[in-house]
Symmetry: C2
Subunit: 402 residues, 2 copies
């Protein structure tokens, strides 16, 4: 222990002298990009000089857009790639107007070559819209999660769909640990009494105020977020149940884990807490966690879902929170997004829901902005992407979606 102390003290001096914070982005982004040259697609190679029309659909930043030059995820920030695109002669339309046939998105679809969208203000790219977009070659998701795109329709139309894999993993892993602590410590129930002065609510929560230490945490999915999340949770001495594997790039794990899936799935639902950190399930199994599966969880289970809202059966979650079988539900993903005013999760008890922003921290915006730039650059030069960035490639759904 005294050796550790020594180490911190050394760090004090180093850091305060430099007065800079090094955020090692490269460990997430670079390993992917390094492999890109090996994944050049032979077919569909485009001429470098061809001018493209790119349509980006993001949320509006309004008066906040100028507060931070790194706030590139909004319409005004336009991912920080407008100057670069226009200097090459490409046309770049950016809008937040995405609903209905008169929307700016839909008016620009017929001659668009590339559409960039985000999970945070999703432009739903339906089969109908794909039919209208005669020139569309590429659908890029600035972030992770392309369930707003009809992947089958895109693949039938020969459109490539790709994501900036890995851009949100740090943000989301941190967000998930925060949500587990918030649920287990009933944080939101503690806040109002600061303003309300009473302590009735406070007493109610004191009867069940717990610690995370030594409680089992089960995860569904074991991808990049899981890799970052696991060492954090382990410092609480909890047990991780890993019951489904997510990403193709850890194929060697997948096989082994899928073998034990059948044996461990049901025991895991008996555990005190269930964490979902996968986006894979959606495409195969929307509403995977239905009334039946939730009823098999132990009473008092806490559920954190930063994966995709549609993984859950909406009404089953609301009912289980209301009758107390689920003691707390937290996440920032909804279906659809933004959630309609009458979405039951807005009104159910024991929830700690927020709008979908966990993967759009400033650092994540810079990552997915830079990722989109790099992928567009490759696309313009007729090069392919690293395999794991594809959702649809050459008319084929990516292997994890089949």
């Amino acid at each position: 222990m005294s050796d550790n102390t020594q180490e911190y003290l050394v760090q004090v001096h180093t850091t305060t002298t430099q007065n800079t914070i090094v955020t090692p982005l490269e460990e997430v982004v670079t390993p992917l990009d390094n492999t890109s040259s090996k994944n050049v697609s032979g077919e569909g190679r485009k001429v470098v000089s061809e001018k493209k029309k790119i349509v980006g659909v993001f949320y509006k930043g309004n008066e906040y857009a100028k507060l931070n030059p790194d706030f590139v995820g909004c319409v005004e920030g336009a991912l920080g790639i407008r100057e670069w695109l226009e200097s090459q002669g490409h046309q770049y339309i950016v809008t937040d107007d995405k609903e209905g046939p008169d929307s700016e998105l839909e008016r620009n679809l017929p001659d668009a070559h590339v559409v960039i969208s985000t999970p945070f203000h999703p432009a739903y790219v339906t089969a109908e819209r794909i039919k209208k977009a005669k020139n569309l070659e590429l659908l890029l998701t600035a972030g992770i999660g392309s369930d707003h795109i009809d992947l089958k329709a895109a693949s039938a139309a020969g459109i490539t769909v790709a994501e900036v894999t890995g851009s949100n993993v740090v943000s989301v892993a941190e967000d998930e640990l925060m949500r587990i602590l918030i649920l287990i410590k009933n944080f939101l129930a503690r806040v109002p009494s600061v303003c309300l002065m009473g302590n009735g609510m406070l007493l109610a929560l004191l009867t069940e105020l717990m610690i995370l230490k030594a409680r089992p945490v089960g995860t569904v999915g074991a991808g990049r977020i899981w890799k970052l999340f696991t060492p954090k949770v382990e410092t609480f001495s909890t047990v991780i149940f890993c019951i489904l594997i997510e990403l193709g790039w850890i194929l060697d794990w997948r096989k082994r884990l899928e073998q034990i899936l059948r044996r461990t799935l049901m025991p895991c639902f008996q555990s005190v807490m269930l964490l979902l950190s996968t986006r894979l399930l959606l495409s195969r199994q929307g509403g995977l966690f239905d009334k039946d599966k939730i009823s098999k969880c132990k009473k008092g289970v806490l559920i954190v879902n930063n994966a995709r809202g549609a993984i859950m059966d909406t009404q089953a979650v609301a009912d289980a929170c209301s009758n107390g079988h689920v003691a707390g539900y937290s996440g920032d993903v909804w279906f659809p997004q933004p959630a309609p005013k009458d979405h039951p999760w807005r009104y159910m008890p024991n929830h700690a829901m927020t709008p979908h922003v966990s993967g759009t921290t400033i650092d994540a915006q810079l990552r997915y902005g830079g990722g989109v730039k790099g992928m567009l650059d490759r696309h313009f030069r007729g090069e392919g992407f690293p395999e794991q960035k594809y959702m649809v490639k050459e008319g084929q759904l990516a292997s994890q979606y089949r």
Copy 2:
């Protein structure tokens, strides 16, 4: 990595078979108790058969008291020691009524031998009250933090003051990490938009949504909570500045760290985030973090304080949160407690304050209930306590308070 996976899978089977969660309490409590026999006080040894009057002051559980048999921290739960005390012929008065000369506490003071109080519903034991308590031998704090007791008056009156050291450390360390994440991710600002539907507030916070990864965390204090907290924060790759040592039981560290205090104190205030995890400062330095010290922190600093409210200059914190110098302040300690309706921290912007409960989770209640029982048992038998449990011993303030 695959070795780790293997391990989890083994754990799945072990844990689900046993279907129990082992909370290793002993690592916190036992090491202290093991040393007790070496700390027997030679003087003041009492006859075992003497009957005592014990007064406990806790918060009321009301209709919630019966919901959980382990909810022993409330008046109704009475620390779970009523049967044991009464079976030995002692009188045990338990109340939440603690304010003013007509309160049940004050009416029972003149012939009380022992008063047990908690930091969560503090019975302020003033010099005046100590004068009234002619028979008082022992003031026990069920929990950590005895700043509600006038330690100098107690020592002048020859009254022993002791705490259940270590009872809250797991709960508080977890709570502090949660608060850091809540501040850095602006969690509370994200919640209302779920109900309010608008996204104006959401955009405002998106301009500054950060990750904890690689950001420096400075701590003031390096006691038991720090020991549990440090490995958790380290999984976020942050840097720990340890600038003041807390507890007497790690004396060997103290000397070394105090030597560097002068050199590192000011650089630490320049760090992005400052975490306070000490209760020591209060007795020597109420209002230690005043306008001057806060102004020396880097603009945008986040402050988490689960130590004691009085460590901070109340108005200086409110002003700094209002003018944006402090970007976020969170904690659950106030001065005084409960906080009056006009306490500025209730109304300042950028706060994530809650009432004081982090150290009274169910597991902590069982720990401090058990700790009080053990200490009373020793007191009745005329035995002393482990050194670090004393605030006042034989008319002397404990070394860390001198």
